[in-house]
């Protein structure tokens, strides 16, 4: 049985390198055989205090395929939360109804707090701009799946590197695997110095660019993110840089044949649709991998693997 039984997953740093790998190995088994009704005696609560399409459906699909019953809400409207119930009281109550809580809440740190109040394990499905560890786990799964390894890779991160929480978590996680980071962003959206410091502390290297073309021949993975208009105080500044981080099919000429393009989705225009038809596009498979990884996490945490 997994050492992850009974554990919470709140932040990507909660698990060791060995534990990430364990989850990825279990997820591979679910990819081979997704319908294993090993949680048929369990109840999973999905508490979504703000709307989410992909993450909630992915968790619920994963729980369903494992045979678990699902309770919860996809929007706090109509629940006791709207009547002013505290997160504390909601979590204490739900703990007595479910074997596992999956929670998304816009308040940063809310999942850590919920895990301290709950009497059952908690998986963080996103706490504001803070952490979204299952996204990071599925990114790792997709990288390993496409490259055959997580070690010694050239990882290019493109777009909003300043505010993108998936980017920060991925950097933290890949620091365990001797990665080299290639950072492509407008000057205003560079990776924060605290995240760069964690690369340096791990004894690894990063290089910064403003043009995607520079990194195409080097990259094993191009991880695209959306540059959001609302991040720019000056709309003119947004107009000036918005097209600098768009990936088109013709830009991929000269890339490694094994290179794959990842994106946490939803995409807007930062990957043009002509990339979808190339063998390098992996973002839709990446989203599908989220189900296997979430199956693996739920099964391991509930002691079924």
């Amino acid at each position: 049985m997994s050492t992850l039984k009974g554990r919470n997953l709140i932040s990507i740093t909660d698990f060791s390198k060995e534990e990430y790998i364990e989850v990825l190995d279990i997820a591979e088994g679910f990819e081979q055989n997704p319908k294993q009704r090993i949680l048929s005696d369990k109840v999973v609560a999905t508490l979504f205090f703000e709307p989410s399409t992909r993450t909630r459906l992915s968790f619920e699909s994963a729980a369903n395929q494992l045979g678990a019953r699902i309770i919860g809400f996809s929007d706090p409207g109509g629940t006791s939360v709207q009547k002013g119930e505290s997160l504390h009281d909601t979590i204490v109550m739900v703990s007595s109804y479910a074997d596992l809580i999956v929670m998304r809440n816009p308040k940063e740190g809310s999942s850590r707090y919920a895990s301290e109040v709950a009497t059952v394990p908690v998986i963080n499905a996103g706490d504001g701009a803070n952490q979204h560890p299952t996204q990071c786990m599925l990114d790792l799964y997709s990288i390993r799946k496409t490259q055959g390894t997580l070690d010694n890779l050239n990882i290019a991160l493109v777009g909003d590197l300043k505010y993108g929480r998936t980017v920060h978590s991925l950097v933290q996680a890949m620091c365990n695997f001797n990665a080299t980071f290639h950072l492509v962003s407008p000057t205003e959206l560079k990776l924060p110095s605290s995240v760069k410091a964690s690369i340096k502390d791990a004894g690894l290297k990063y290089y910064q660019y403003t043009d995607i073309r520079s990194i195409v021949p080097l990259a094993d993975i191009i991880y695209m993110t959306r540059v959001q208009r609302e991040r720019f105080p000056d709309p003119l500044e947004y107009e000036r840089v918005k097209d600098s981080c768009i990936l088109t099919a013709d830009m991929l000429e000269g890339c490694k044949p094994t290179m794959r393009v990842l994106h946490p989705l939803p995409r807007v225009n930062e990957i043009t649709t002509d990339v979808d038809k190339t063998p390098y596009a992996y973002y839709f498979r990446q989203a599908q991998n989220g189900v296997y990884v979430r199956q693996a996490l739920m099964a391991a945490i509930l002691g079924a693997k």
Binding site: K107, E108, G109, S110, Y113, G128, N130
Partner: protein
Amino acid sequence: METKKELVVPAIENGTVIDHIPTELVYQVIHILGLENYKDEVLIGNYLKSGKLGRKGIIKIKNKHFTKEDVSKVALVAPFVTIITIQDYQVKEKFATEIPDHIENFVICANPKCITNAEAVPTKFDVVDKDNLKLRCHYCEKFTTKETIHFKL
């Protein structure tokens, strides 16, 4: 050296003395400890001659015995002051403050989106840089620094 004869701020029989306070921080120390509302004698001296600092502040608080949290509060506002416990006019204990590794309850997280600012959740921080005073919130993982620190009073 102070001697009993030269005391500018009178001695107290029992309580706590905070000595060697940088002059500009004396009122912040009073504030962080909530001494404005303390219902016993508080003796305050500032701009007193000091061999160590040139000029210093001193606060003597009658019948108050510091908790660990009080010491942490003083350390955050004024690191490296001296805290002296007095019993029967004698020094019972004397130590220099030091910023602790962990802080609970009395610092407010600087991140307005943190759960601790939305619900009645006691704050917890790890001190990641004592020289530049940088605290990492246990919940939202964001940093509170010297420039953004506020206290629950």
